[in-house]
Assembly symmetry: none
Homo-oligomer: 250 residues x 2
DNA sequence: ATGGATGAATTGGTCAGGCCACTTGGCCAA
DNA sequence: TTGGCCAAGTGGCCTGACCAATTCATCCAT
């Protein structure tokens, strides 16, 4: 299956250029970039094109845009998309082990400090989960939110971020396909029950129980994941209207 | 320590709205969004604002934009590190708290599985540390290596990477300047002793002692860091012009 | 009837110009 | 020295126009 080769948009080219200037140190960390109007003039493009390029870079975390002040090279491209020395991802089992260690510690900490408003957040998540057990895509999103909500109880942005990131690193296209096969109403219902056990332990302010419930949940999640290996998989396509028409012919 | 509260840009709000429509399933995977002009009309904003919002979402991996064809909900937001809920960066105390939770859990796990070759690695690190107590830059590198070596005992690449990343996130130019003031032979010698206590607990395969030793080390590290804040300082900003002026006055 | 070519319509990409909100720095008065 | 005010600069958002790419409908040839 082939898709049209997409010519490179100008704002992407501009973003690439600025990104490489940051990477080479030509633009130093913390340094202020020239104003949009000046960049547009220097690079001989329109100002909206510059804006669009800068938005790309900001979403990537390479720059920080401040209204009225200017655009600054981010202090540290923390957790960046393209980390060249980084493996594409660690093995899924390795990630699960890491989750087990980190998230058990977080659950333990959360149990020591949970309030009723924290528990209400978890309860709402459980309700949402109950209504989407037939929709794996939505369930994955809510599953993720449950885990980051526990980190949220600790109230530490770094932990929230790590929890989300480590969850997302499994979210490869491959894993998604796998999930669509091995996750279904049964497995999501079980996951939800495990979530409830975690919720209950945290609500009881019982760190040891919370840790154990989280470990149980992740162990079982790993088991479900292991059982899912073995399916034959196909490639992916994002579908356009022409593709839909081609599909119709098939 | 305060930083300016940044009002929410319109294109970010639009991106948030579309993102939540994708998360709730209102916009299905693979579905084509309305054209830019129509979205602009429906959401009562300008078309460039829509474009900017869509660029945010494309960089995040949630949509795929095709010229002349339309905008499609991505099959899956694959491994897109730019997390919308992410703060620009976490405060140093927040990172220390996160380290405390994560690294104590890792130390606990390491103590359960350490072998003599693992301990030899820690011993070599301690020797290296002893020879560079007068050189803060070198000491920081060896300090980092000690912490990642503990994660290495668990033998999990994800944990090693997280340990390194979370350590590095303190390594802002600001922090490095601070370290050059408050870290010296005395503090590095104390850190080394604390490292030794961690090493000993891990060597004894005593998880509780390892956890306690690590927590003690990080608590004291935090105390040393806090004491460094006795100085008159500017906020955690990326260096705006106002901050530069206040600096000049100091 | 079917397939290919062509042109129109639609859609995203880029530009120019304008105005508003916010930030910063300088100056002056208390 | 500190606080207030103002001007200049900067990012944010808008309107309108035109260009490039894609899709779809129509027409023509086989």
């Amino acid at each position: 299956m082939f898709s049209a080769v997409e010519s490179r948009r100008l704002y992407r080219q501009v973003a690439d250029q600025i990104r490489s200037m940051i990477a080479t140190g030509e633009l130093a960390v913390g340094q202020r970039l020239p104003p949009e109007r000046e960049l547009a003039e220097k690079l001989a493009v329109s100002r909206p094109t510059i804006r669009e390029a800068l938005i790309v870079l900001e979403v990537e975390g390479l720059v920080h845009i401040r209204m009225g002040s200017g655009i600054y090279v981010a202090r540290r491209h923390t957790v960046q998309p393209a980390q060249p020395e980084r493996e594409p991802f660690e093995g899924p089992f390795e990630l699960l082990q890491a989750r087990s260690i980190i998230e058990c510690a977080i659950a333990e900490e959360a149990a020591q400090r949970a309030t009723s408003s924290h528990i209400a957040v978890l309860d709402e998540n459980l309700q949402q989960m109950a209504s989407v057990v037939n929709d794996t895509d939505a369930a994955l999103g809510i599953d993720r939110a449950f885990h980051t909500a526990i980190a949220g109880i600790v109230g530490n942005a770094a932990l929230i971020r790590f929890t989300g990131e480590i969850y997302d690193q499994r979210m490869t296209p491959y894993f998604e396909k796998l999930a669509s096969h091995f996750e279904g109403p049964d497995s999501w219902t079980r996951a939800m029950e495990e979530h409830r056990a975690i919720r209950d332990a945290i609500a009881a302010n019982d760190p040891a129980a919370a840790k154990q419930a989280m470990r149980t949940h992740l162990d079982r999640s790993q088991k479900r994941f292991s059982e899912g290996f073995g399916e034959e998989l196909f490639g992916e396509d994002e579908g356009g209207r022409a593709a839909a028409r081609r599909n119709a012919k098939i």
